[in-house]
Symmetry: D3
Subunit: 244 residues, 6 copies
């Protein structure tokens, strides 16, 4: 299955080159630079020895995520959210998505009254920043839990599933995987899919930006996403040196 | 297909009683009270004779939506967002969804440099407020455009499709339609679906709150949603007195 | 005493039709829709089992109020305060007035360390929203305290006085009662009066918008207000099914 | 008429010593330090050569007021509003009152498309800051308009009336004039009255803080206020060197 | 050493007339009006019987400062920071400088778990407001600590050094002391220096506004500052009635 | 001159290894990663084809800077400023310093009505982030102006001086150059110096954090800074491939 007109020249079912660099910065318990082609996101995982007020005393942990873009990570400079004094609706939507996705990856009852803070900061954007963020944050979170194991604060990594995310869309009538910026801005439909390594869905968020899409197209997109996420799960495990 | 354990006692594929009351308040060009069972949302559509700065001079219209809940529309009182000085991430996510959904319903190039403001305010909440809001806002927007036709400012309602929305979920292992609050808080998966009256998708937003869900379940949920939305489209047209 | 030129056609001392609908929404301990003609305000009373920090441990209760208008409750759409991120000076002034007025109605030492939150949300505005809000909130608060009695948490409703409010003004030189929007925007003087059912004043707030007013006019306005409030007190008690 | 128990030892109808110091600071077109006993407020009037957007092109002027308290103008230090990032409801209420009162003093159609900004900053508080602010701002505004006359930008001061304000209250059952802090915090009723030098009312704001008050008391308070304001008007004119 | 062209006519090494008025307002433990020529700043020192959270239980005190300008303390009216809802970067920079400078003057371990709040409010600005604020706050803080001694809460004033501040600059090529507004707006370099009465530096903040400055000029400016601060320290002690 | 006890083991006058990586991200006109040892800052320079309102129509350009830290660039995670809704005083102080420093490097009258936005984002912090930011932003700004030359929008880079910055301090009694985090948190005095390649001062900001420092120490620190900045200027030019 190929698309001659795909701006990136990729096959419809091809991911961009993916790179996962662990220990990218030195302070965080987990720190990963993830690259989906020209999209580059720093994902750090920080452990805090307390939980938010609504969970205190319940013996349970918490995991939360924040997302940001450097002002000139994008083609034209965006205003800095800290200077404007508020996060955009898009930013909040994305960080809520990252948080929900990663909470599905780990057992919140198995790491004590601690909070794992995930910070996903885009240093260069070329489409798919939220899916790169989820995929990279999975590895950073794993590394942070490994630190807790190493410090003998918990006995095992509280893993439920490996979780990864990818975008799919309909570009010039053809369903394609992992849209870059050019493809994303020209596509009719954009769907972000988050799945586990068992092939189950955590999140599906599809939006018809131009024409509404039918059930057949939906199924084709889900097929592409599932295959793409299997690949990403494999790369996450390789990066972590885990036997498959 | 029935579910004995569904708290509402409804069949798995049954909507709650739906009521659409047009001209609910007197000032707005379109004003609809929509009820999905005990969920009650006031949807008003207001016409403004200008567009936001990014569209000025392009001869195109705009449509945008805001969403709010009265502090005691819910079981326990929530803080008032105006008093806190900011809208929650959830509020912003919902109003962005309503806006995108309704922009798919109308032709933005066919009503001049005007903005249609949709305000969806929940006065009583019992699950499904965002889907009720989209379904009611469709009717309010239609009424507002009819005012423009009546005033001879445009020649026809710039309709592309009727759009409606419904939630589906998995409750005790069974896919069910139109979750009320009790069902929603106990379900494993929650999906909001927005479709046109041609049976195409505008938005699909599914979240696994407990267990991740598989492809079979996804398909069952989409089937339920499609049937439910057909019903809602019919009710919208009846409310507007349109021949089918 | 009649005024030929009064836009509403009402006699100078005539209230608009008043309707009080109790149990208007289902979650709040007290929930009242109050209508002064076309002005419609939802007043809910919510009980919280704690007091603000400055009262903790003093064995005393608290009562506070918030006020809002739906964006299209008015003739032209107003910006949503939650979206702007702040309440206007007018909103704050009104909610402070409602709070002070209702704190005069009840004995704060007679319902334990609890807070009664009054939320007054205008769904349709046609003048007099603050006076309708006070008059309706009185009934909602009464109902909420009745719930506390029913739950045997307090032995009696901590009532000091029934409290109601009405506006008076000078329209085309003639003092008139209960101004609607048209009258209000054309009047010279606007005064809001809050009184007890013993005929005493809780609040008097008069503003000369055009010409300053003299002492004779002031006395005429206070006479009108007193008679109007006696009527409102009677309707409040009827709505609550109280023997007079 | 005397009150033995009045903490200040003043007669019931006695003002505190009043001092008006013109040209208190050097930059503002009008700058007055007003003292009501230990209450000290700096009132400046600044002319800006434009009007707010809603008045542009209408050939009309505008007058607006802001109010603030130095953090340690009060007995205990208050938080600085600029540091908290918002003005309290009380601050907004007071500055709206000052603005309305002074707009009644001048003819907004008689000084061109200019804005007069009144800034009333309390440097020491001992009760009655808002009434001192209004009374002092009247003189500062007069001086600022005199500058416009001197610069030959307008032909005459656009004066409608002299306006002054005073508080009255019920202290230990007796109506008294011009409450200081000790009296204010112990009184049952507090009323602020703004009047013209023709003896007409601009604003009346009375609040029963303890017991509701009756019509007789109201009349006694209004009598006290009227006499007090006559005195203040005389002092304003003396300070300005105006023949009476 | 004289400068013919200095707008103020002062010698290059001459301070403006300095006046320190203690007990300027009545509520604060320390309250000083400091005047550097036409620059007038009210400095109050308020004692709070607790420390910020990060210091609780450490047996140590804290000292912090806030700075503000009345809107018309300046030549043209500035927006009120409380109304804008945020302090400017300049304001924050200045209040951080005042706080650091005064924390160097006192032993934070010698006055218990208390906070000294310094509020420096400019009522008239003519250049050098931050240096006047530091110099005046020193005296206000001393007075506030004297109150603690008098109340027998501490045994001695926790003084480390007397601290004062002055500006120096290069005006038309000549280094000069204590710039007023006219000199400041026309100068090439502006440096604020904070020193102890032992002749040591607490803060040096120099900025080349036009031409960068060389080492020789830097030394000349430091010489001027040192001599000026010796004078200010003497005046501070005189004002406090301390034997030298 | 060596210091045995310097935690980094460096000589007192030794910089950390400095690396300048140009074209670090792809969208910005200038994009530099600068490393001072473990301190890593991304500096981007973005050209906008307009100036702020206060400069419009004056034929002059503008240059402004913003600064941020990724939440986990530091040893413990800091709150994200965008999520808190405001920039700290420290952040504002630093970005104002960067802006002033770089405005001294270029001729604002020589690049038309354009704004150069400098964004300095710390991805890893180990002391000296503001000095690294200034030094890196100089190179990014140079690259951005080179783009304007290349596009034939200006005829030459509007360079006045090369500007660089370094910190100096007193660690265990010895003046040292370029403090890392460990040294910075333990030092008595911290001074940031910004100089031109002509050896002149742009900014000097010294703070005694423990003991006040004397004139001799000040001179020693300035000597160290001057030598360090000469080195940095050389590296900047090398990175840009400029003949010296």
């Amino acid at each position: 299955m190929t698309v001659d007109t795909r701006p990136s020249g990729r096959a419809a079912d091809a991911l961009r080159p993916v790179r996962l660099t662990r220990r990218y910065t030195k302070h965080a318990e987990g720190s990963v630079l993830i690259e989906f082609g020209d999209t580059k996101v720093i994902c750090t995982a920080s452990i805090e020895e307390k939980v938010p007020p609504f969970l205190r005393g319940k013996g349970q942990g918490w995991l939360t995520a924040e997302y940001g873009m450097l002002p000139r990570s994008t083609h034209s400079r965006m205003d800095r959210e800290a200077a404007k004094g508020k996060q955009s609706g898009r930013t909040q939507e994305i960080q809520r998505l990252i948080g929900r996705s990663l909470r599905a990856a780990f057992d919140l009852n198995a790491f004590g009254e601690r909070t794992l803070h995930l910070d996903c900061d885009v240093i260069q954007a070329d489409g798919g920043t939220r899916t790169a963020a989820i995929t990279g944050a999975m590895v950073a979170a794993y590394d942070a839990f490994a630190v807790l194991v190493e410090r003998q604060l918990i006995s095992a990594i509280p893993l439920k599933h490996f979780v990864a995310a990818i975008s799919v869309g309909v570009y010039r009538g053809v369903p394609v995987l992992d849209l870059d910026y050019l493809e994303d801005s020209g596509c009719d439909t954009d769907m972000n899919v988050v799945m586990t390594d068992a092939g189950h869905f955590i999140e599906v968020q599809g939006t018809a930006e131009g024409e509404a899409f039918d059930r057949v197209t939906m199924n084709q997109m889900l097929d592409l996403a599932q295959a793409g996420i299997e690949n990403l799960n494999r790369m996450q495990k390789e990066a972590l040196g885990l036997a498959q």
